[in-house]
């Protein structure tokens, strides 16, 4: 009996190449890779779901505007208030617009908008697709001769990839406005002087890298949300897990990408 138990335990251990967790981690990475390959194959083949892409752009873009505007505005004000004492110590308050513009355009606008989008849009994609998966709605779509991957996944990934750069530019603008209001309130700097000083320090590379980052973050949020939702299992518990994993995975990947892109841009600069 004991021999049998030992034997079955050995078989159970031998089922995994390294260990259960490590195997699952690498299997997941491979599956995400396959998911991305499938996306690129589907995106360039007809039929193109233009109507649904526009609908999704409206859902993820237009409907996120109030939230990112408020966040951008607060970020602009808070960052200005936090930076002022340090600059004042060196008598460099006049550098405030330059510092704020560099911080907002290069880092804060893309990062804050992406994190907000990961929480709002990524979780929504994970939960919505997860719910459709566990209630057989995706199967129903497939048997009614509609490709659910193209209709549900490709459209959502494209929408967030296109819309996040727009949202980042909008957040940047609102953030700068928030900062200006604070600067005007304290230093009575004119609108023209503030923005002249702000844009003197910003280069084309800053704006381009910001848009590039936003595109990458959007794609990441879309892939993470759709992958988790499309592969949800185990009923309502699985839907919750899909939404949660979509947010955690996309936020983690956003920070990793931020690190890599900053290194690349600094090397170019």
């Amino acid at each position: 009996m004991k021999l049998n138990e030992e034997k079955s335990e050995k078989v159970a251990v031998n089922k995994y190449l390294i260990s259960k967790g490590v195997d699952a981690f690498f299997t997941d990475i491979y599956n995400v890779y396959l998911f991305i390959v499938r996306f690129f194959k589907a995106v360039f083949t007809a039929p193109f779901e233009f109507k649904e892409i526009i609908n999704q752009c409206y859902q993820v873009g237009y409907k996120s505007l109030p939230l990112v505007a408020l966040t951008g505005f607060i970020t602009g004000i808070v960052f200005t208030k936090q930076s002022r004492p340090s600059l004042s110590t060196f008598g460099a308050s006049s550098w405030l617009p330059s510092l704020i513009s560099i911080a907002i355009i290069r880092a804060l606008a893309p990062l804050v908008t992406a994190l907000i989008a990961a929480g709002k849009v990524g979780s929504n994609m994970g939960a919505e697709l997860g719910s459709m998966k566990v209630t057989e709605q995706i199967d129903a779509m497939e048997v009614s001769a509609t490709n659910p991957f193209k209709f549900l996944v490709v459209t959502r990934i494209l929408a967030i990839t296109f819309m996040l750069p727009v949202l980042v530019l909008f957040t940047g603008f609102i953030g700068m406005m928030g900062s200006y209001l604070n600067v005007y309130h304290n230093e009575l700097t004119s609108f023209t002087a503030f923005f002249k000083s702000a844009f003197n320090t910003i280069s084309f590379l800053d704006i381009f890298s910001s848009i590039f980052k936003a595109t990458m973050y959007g794609f990441t949020i879309g892939v993470a949300g759709c992958y988790q939702g499309y592969n949800a299992q185990n009923g309502t518990q699985g839907v919750g897990r899909a939404a949660n994993s979509a947010v955690v995975l996309s936020m983690f990947m956003i920070f990793v990408e931020e690190l890599v892109i900053v290194q690349l841009v600094n090397a170019i600069r």
């Binding site: 719910s131 057989e136 129903a140 497939e142 009614s144 001769a145 509609t146 490709n147």
Partner: protein, 262 residues
């Protein structure tokens, strides 16, 4: 009821399955299944939960791939078919899901319009509206057209699910547990609807169920799935006129137990 009798008038096979095998890991679900569904015929597939009934119709509709064996639907080999041909074939197959699987972000009208506008793009808006009104009338739920799926009862959801498949005028209907979770009166209405669909749309159907009342009322033949194989096939009385304990216990549980409980 005429439809419950085995009818030899059905000749051509609409679905022909030979030696079908399907496993999930070490679990063998279908182990050499053979089945023929003739054109215009309703077959009820009976079996215990987890016996592979739903897997069978998911393979027929191309949602799952078999491990081995041959599955022919309307002359097309489903186990070896291109994606484009499968899409075309699916227009002729209606699948009514156990959970109804209505798109919960869409109204009843949008649910019904979805397969039609996507697959018959040449149709005018007026033609789409007419088709929606027609199928809703067929299932007796014209008043629900503007409602959301969450506002419908279980029986209404099942009927809208069937209406959504009927809008494409399928030649084959696959019903997955059409009466599960419904009260006896609603079950009776669904049974009548299944027979109406068979007669009006001339469909060949597979009805997956463990409700013998549904099977008896709607099917021309019964197929009993046990241990991955069809243990008995024939009309209702033939299948259950047996000494096989597994088949008898299925019958006894559905009828004798219920009668004793009354």
């Amino acid at each position: 009821m005429e439809t419950t009798k085995e009818n030899t008038a059905f000749e051509e096979p609409a679905i022909l399955i030979k030696g079908l095998k399907k496993s999930f890991g070490n679990l063998v679900v279908l182990n050499g299944v053979d089945l023929e569904v003739r054109k215009g015929e309703n077959i009820a597939v009976l079996g215990r939960s987890g016996s592979g009934k739903s897997v069978l119709i998911k393979i027929i509709s191309g949602l799952l791939q078999p491990d081995s064996g041959s599955v022919q639907v309307l002359g097309e080999q489903v186990d070896n078919i291109s994606a484009a041909d499968l899409q075309r074939l699916r227009l002729k197959i209606g699948f009514s899901f156990q959970s109804s699987a209505l798109y919960d972000s869409m109204s009843v009208r949008e649910n019904l319009a979805f397969p039609l506008v996507r697959n018959k793009r040449e149709l005018s808006a007026a033609a789409v509206n007419t088709a929606i009104e027609e199928v809703l009338h067929e299932v007796g739920l014209s008043q629900t057209i503007m409602q959301m799926p969450s506002e419908l009862s279980g029986g209404q959801r099942k009927r809208i699910g069937i209406a959504r498949t009927l809008i494409l005028k399928p030649e084959i209907m696959l019903y997955d547990e059409p009466t599960s979770g419904l009260d006896p009166i609603t079950c009776g209405e669904i049974n009548k609807l299944i027979i109406k669909v068979q007669q009006q749309y001339k469909t060949s159907s597979i009805i997956i169920t463990h409700d013998l009342t549904c099977a008896k009322a709607t099917a021309n033949r019964i197929a009993m799935l046990l241990d991955g194989k069809f243990l008995a096939t024939g009309n209702f009385d033939t299948v259950f006129d047996t000494q096989n304990e597994s088949v008898r216990s299925f019958y006894d549980y559905n009828f004798t137990t219920h009668e004793n409980n009354k």
